[in-house]
Amino acid sequence: MNTLKKFLGLIWMVLGPLAMTFLFLQAIEKVGLTHTDIERTNTILQWGIILFIFLPISLGLMIFGFYAWKGEYDKLPENSEEV
């Protein structure tokens, strides 16, 4: 199980930047599709919110993956003294 945890850690590390790249590409595509002024402003606002929120979360997923890869989750703490 610990080997699986480590191996999946690599996937989480890759998944973070992949998710962000996908969101950036989607944002560029969708903003490019709308031409009129107010619609364009709305679309930029919506995608701006999404990118702003999910950027730190994907960074968190990368750190989580890194910890998993380093074996930090092989044994979880069983009491607060171990935390």
């Binding site: 945890k5 989480w12 619609e39 709305n42 919506q46 979360i57 968190g60 989580f64 607060s80 935390v83």
Partner: protein
């Protein structure tokens, strides 16, 4: 072992904590339940679908700042105590809700209206971010170790009951005032009413005592000097915050908001159900499912928290698309035969002049009753042009009222979705409390909870509606967001989380 109270006292603690939390959820949810009406009030009349998406964005903004509220008030709670911190959050929440009820419409003050509502919505989000972690911690620190899941699950019912209360008050207010008056100014009443509820709750909370574990910590001089630093700069704590987020609260959040919010939004906006019907369905579903928060909370004391929560996620992943396909199929009235129609009554047509034009729009509403007991309004809007005559537009079917058997079938499907909510949400307070030590508990558990629920969950209606508006998408495309997030959380939770309960949280 925690400093558990006698049973009567613990129920007093639960009652006082839960009432305030319930009111905060009520305040927070009336905005979402009235998104369509508020959208008409805050944005220009010709804004169309973008008014709804922008209103949902303002609604979502309240969720997005919840993690920041968790940091600010979590820190306060770990520094000065649980009791005074969640008194403060209650005042902020009640005040901002009351003021949303007083904001003038777009017609009166232009774009200042949505900006002011956005500011108040952000305060609501900050307050809620501070409230929940405090209430859950407060109850858990009073509860006996073998019943922590059972007692904290009462706090878990408050989010759903807050939604129930908000829907109930909205439906009652609308039925008393009538649809037109409610749309004009009656929608403000549920917001204004909040101030009464908050005053009652503040009175009750003022009489509460500080948590025994926090008092002990304070007496021993062991209160954290910088809970934020201890929570997030110590790798051992931070890695548990990340695990709680990605392995539990992220999936729990999307299951919660799909079952209780996206479902209502889908029934009202995609299936075009009647305002009351869509809310009655949710009200019945909530009423039947709410006791299961306590059932699963208590069960988690016996079998552990992990697998109950993950099973709820798995069932959501499997059944969401079939359930929403049934919603679509059973409300598709485009293929009805003439022989299905019992009666068809057209109201007198109304006409409005198109601004800066000599053309006008003529709207004809026909009420159609079907033999099976269902009904709907067929709305035809034609352009009457001086130069081109009448240009007929595509008709819209809306305000659908379901036949009784279909209505109860929908109640069953909503009940099932809320049952999944009770599985993921019932045990999670106890799970989070047990993950972190007392002196940084308020801060540490609040952050993953509010990122999972506020960001991943709160954005479900907004992101799902956005995805469904892409070209080439189907009405069910929006579901890929909660299904994808729940799948990721299920895999991480199943592999990395432990099912072992931490019996001693007094450390």
């Amino acid at each position: 072992m925690s400093d558990a109270l006698p049973k009567n006292n613990i129920f007093k603690v639960i009652g006082a904590s839960s009432l305030g939390t319930l009111i905060e959820w009520y305040d927070f949810y009336i905005f979402g339940s009235l998104a369509v009406i508020i959208g008409h009030q805050l944005f220009p009349e010709d804004a169309g679908a973008s008014a709804l998406i922008n209103t949902l964005a303002i609604f979502a903004a309240g969720f997005i700042v919840r993690p920041f509220g968790a940091l600010v008030f979590g820190r306060l709670g770990d520094l000065i105590g649980r009791k005074y911190t969640f008194l403060l959050t209650l005042v902020l929440m009640g005040g901002s809700t009351f003021f949303i009820g007083l904001i003038p419409s777009y017609k009166s003050i232009g774009y200042a209206a949505p900006i002011l509502v956005l500011i108040l919505r952000l305060i609501q989000g900050l307050a809620l971010g501070g409230e929940y972690g405090g209430a859950a911690t407060y109850v858990a620190e009073h509860a006996p170790e073998n019943k922590r899941g059972f007692f904290t699950s009462w706090i878990q019912t408050t989010a759903t009951l807050g939604l129930f209360l908000s829907l109930g008050i909205i439906v009652i207010t609308k039925n008393i005032l009538g649809a037109e008056t409610f749309g004009n100014w009656g929608w403000r009443i549920p917001f204004l009413l909040s101030i009464v509820l908050v005053v009652v709750s503040i009175y009750i909370r003022m009489k509460m005592h500080e948590s025994p574990l926090f008092s002990k910590l304070k007496a021993e001089g062991n209160v954290s000097k910088n809970p934020l630093k201890e929570s997030f700069s110590h790798k051992a704590n931070f890695k548990m915050v990340l695990l709680a987020l990605f392995g539990a609260t992220m999936g729990q959040g999307v299951i919660w908001y799909t079952g209780q919010f996206y479902a209502q939004s889908f029934l009202e906006n995609t299936c075009k159900l009647d305002f009351n019907d869509s809310r009655y369905i949710l009200l019945w579903g909530i009423a039947f499912a709410t006791p299961f928060f306590v059932v699963f909370g208590a069960w988690s004391d016996k079998v552990g928290r992990k697998w109950i929560m993950l099973t709820g996620m798995l069932l959501g992943i499997i059944f969401y698309r079939p359930i929403y396909q049934i919603f679509l199929d059973d409300t598709d009235y485009t293929k009805i035969e003439q022989s299905d129609i019992l009666s068809s009554t057209a109201a007198p047509a109304s006409a409005v002049l198109i601004p800066n034009s000599t053309d006008c729009l003529r709207t004809t509403v026909t009420k159609v009753m079907l033999k099976r007991g269902a009904s709907f309004n067929r709305v035809q809007t034609d352009t009457i042009s001086v130069s081109n005559g009448i240009l007929p537009a595509k008709e819209i079917i809306k305000d659908k009222v379901l036949a009784k058997p279909v209505f109860w079938k929908f109640v069953g499907l909503i009940f099932f979705q809320i049952l999944l909510v009770t599985m993921v949400y019932g045990p999670i307070a106890a799970f989070l409390v047990e993950l972190f030590p007392t002196k940084i508990r308020y801060t540490s558990m609040s952050l993953p909870y509010h990122i999972g629920n506020g960001v991943f969950g709160g954005l479900v209606p907004f992101i799902a509606t956005l995805i469904a508006s892409f070209s080439g998408s189907t009405p069910l495309s929006g579901l890929w967001y909660p299904i994808g997030i729940a799948t990721l959380s299920l895999i991480i939770g199943a592999i990395y989380l432990s099912n072992k309960r931490d019996e001693n949280i007094n450390d």
